[in-house]
Symmetry: C2
Subunit: 459 residues, 2 copies
């Protein structure tokens, strides 16, 4: 049977094997088993290019080869496993991709689920003896997390030509160790000779199944998020200079309290962002000199702003730049009163650390995911009491993923499944076997639909 034979309802035949999927996932999670959260739940510590990452990679290569794939390792250690198609053995493949590395106190689903769903797709194709029109494949991207080597989505970034191979190779591990990306790629045997590039390894499309890492699907009782894009974000470091002063002897009017200004800025930024449907967050704050009876004269804080549209982020940044100046002069804003005793002015400076524009995924891939989700849910237990369409929503990804870089050079979309309490990057991260399997099935059907689309377009 080829995908050509499978019109309309026949796609519903393509079911994944939930137990096999979960067994495969949990078995390989022995490689890099991390912190234990519950008696039956163990988180992951599978840092990029570590010994446990090598074990997981070896499993991936061996398993995909046994399933009839040819594997290519590029100069960043990205592994492309490709299963030949009927019309063409050599045309670019339609890929399912994600990553096998984790945070140091990560979970078993972030990235890992996407790879295992891809492997399950290969198994289903083999079980059903399906021959796709064009090649399909699974790609494991190196160091998506940026936890051990501090650049996230590193190797899809090199593939996309947005991060230089040399910069990536020379990245040193955090914590003061001497290992670099290149030395570790060599050490574990995953420094491939093919340059990591969309030119040498073009992809026809990239689909990625991922846990949402947020609470929206769970809160709205949705089963599948059809990811239409990734929101824009910008990271800044703000530096506030006031003056150290004795807390007992310095009246408010004589203070230049850098921490008070930071507090007013944090409150204002979140209010303003909320009114624009955006997010603003401060994750890092250091107050110096750090003594109970000294008013801090120096504060540094991070500011992370995000919104689905670049224009919204532009507007928010511009407004915050103006409003923070007013706050630093002791003035009120729409959301924060002036202090009763306005102190001395403070000096505020901005440093832009990261500008990540909004990503809009490809309409064809979004449609493939959306149609696959309707089809999968229509035949699932989940639709016994709810219509399939009510179990699906379009969603903008709040976090970055390898799909962002993939989308720069091929049609791309993602599939989100709910995770418990929206928690991720944590040993308690959890996605139910039912939801993992639903997501894997949508991934599989989306890839098959896209393969058909390609064939129809070529016809």
């Amino acid at each position: 049977m080829t995908t050509k034979d499978m019109g309309g309802a026949e796609f519903e035949m393509v079911k994944v094997n939930r137990d096999r999927l979960m067994e495969s996932l949990h078995e390989t999670c022995e490689y890099g088993k991390g912190e234990r959260s519950e008696p039956t739940e163990t988180g992951m510590c599978r840092l990029a290019l570590s010994d446990s990452d090598k074990q997981a990679r070896d499993w991936f290569v061996q398993t995909t080869q046994e399933l009839g794939c040819q594997t290519t390792v590029d100069s960043m250690g990205n592994i492309f496993a490709v299963r030949p198609g009927r019309i063409s053995r050599d045309a670019p493949a339609t890929f399912a991709g994600s990553h096998l590395d984790t945070q140091p106190t990560g979970g078993r689903y972030d990235g890992i689920l996407g790879i295992h769903a891809g492997v399950e797709m290969l198994r289903v194709l083999q079980d059903l003896d399906i021959e796709t029109e064009y090649p399909v494949g699974v790609v494991n991207w190196t160091n998506e997390e940026g936890a051990r080597f501090p650049k996230s989505m590193m190797s899809s970034g090199v593939w996309a030509g947005e991060i230089s191979e040399a910069d990536a190779h020379n990245l040193q591990e955090v914590g003061g160790g001497a290992a670099t990306v290149k030395s570790e790629l060599q050490r574990i045997g995953y420094l491939g000779s093919v340059p990591a590039s969309y030119q040498t390894m073009p992809m026809a499309a990239h689909f990625e199944l991922h846990i949402e890492q947020g609470p929206i699907l769970e809160a709205e009782k949705k089963k599948i998020g059809v990811v239409t894009g990734v929101q824009a974000y910008r990271w800044f470091t703000l530096d506030i200079r006031g003056r150290d002063a004795h807390t007992g002897t310095t009246p408010f009017v004589a203070r230049a309290d850098a921490l008070l200004l930071a507090a007013r800025m944090i409150v204002h930024a979140q209010h303003l962002a909320a009114t624009k449907g955006a997010l603003a967050s401060t994750g890092i704050l250091t107050a110096l000199p750090g003594s109970t009876n000294t008013v801090p004269g120096h504060v540094r804080l991070s500011l992370d702003i995000r919104a689905p549209l670049d224009a919204t982020v532009d507007e928010l940044e511009e407004a915050l730049r103006q409003d923070f100046v007013a706050l630093s002069r002791g003035e009120a804003t729409a959301f924060v009163d002036a202090p009763p005793d306005v102190g001395r002015p403070l000096i505020l400076s901005w440093q832009t650390d990261t500008v990540s524009p909004a990503t809009r995924f490809h309409a064809d891939c979004i449609a493939a995911v959306s149609n696959a989700a309707l089809s999968v849910l229509a035949t699932s237990d989940a639709s016994l009491y709810e219509s399939p369409s009510s179990l699906i929503r379009e969603i903008t990804s709040g976090a970055g993923h390898d799909s962002v870089y993939a989308s720069r050079h091929c049609p791309t979309s993602m599939i989100f499944v709910p995770c418990r309490d929206g928690v991720s990057h944590n040993p308690t991260e959890y996605c139910s076997p039912e939801d993992c399997a639903l997501g894997a099935e949508v991934l599989c059907q989306a890839v098959l639909r896209y393969d058909q689309l390609r064939a129809r377009a070529a016809a």
Copy 2:
């Protein structure tokens, strides 16, 4: 001449030698010379019981002995230099006191000026051949700063019976060194055999000249602050538990942002304190886990509240305890709006670190300082254009001083002189030679006036 011969205007004869005072101060500031702020200004790093503190102590003992004093070192290294009186050689002395130790990046006036003014008083008495009715003396208290051994006003506290000698002796130096107060007292030869106690070394009165360490006198163009007491203060550590969450994927409504709550608490506390004529300050804040794209789930912060009256501090603490609970539930207060999207509730806990009640100094000592100040200013250049009374104000000390513990067991008051920009605990700390000399003269005359008062009371 005895002080008995010096009624009324004759006190005006008692002038200090400004140049001698400043030379003596700057010469001994070679012991523990610290960070350079300006070409002609060098701050101090004379940590308690260090080698440089020993040099300053040796100078103090030798100088006061040469001026006819008997010196006693107690079990805390406090040095009492006593000059005999006419009526009695053995009655408790009227003391001028302060401290020779400094902060690690301190200045040349905090504490040091008070000791040098006391020594200048002894020199003036010798110059003019004045015999006081009762003994007068100068006391150098050990480790007022609490910088090296982390308990401020340590040895006046032991003298007052409010800190145990054993606790003080066993205090270890900060920064992980093995030295204790006792081992360092022994090493530098200042572990005296007389127990540190108001019972074995009673004082008839304690006067202390000190820089204000705040901006009030300078701002109001006052020359002398007559210190009527020390404000009450309380220190707390507040712990906020929320939940770490991804900044990109977690809507405001799903967050338990510990840093946002801390920011709202800081803004609220300062507003509320200001309405009550009190102070509230946060000097320490740590936000964990400390990553740009993670909403902090755990924040610890210090809270320092102060007011001249204990009742005000009581009231402020009680109000803050209630209001912080409201804030932690996402509610508004009189000074802080509710966030537009109220997140999940957070858990706030309070730990009380220090409770220091308000101190009211003795009316007799306050009167002695006030009258001395009027007399000194009437004959000073400062009163050419201003009346003496317009150059003086009563003031409550915002910071703690050895005089707080002294006042528990003898009549006490303090004299404040302005310091530039209110800056202290900093190499740029500065008090002009004119103001140093005015303060020293007030100290000297206040001690003589008190001596006369004692004689009149005994007559």
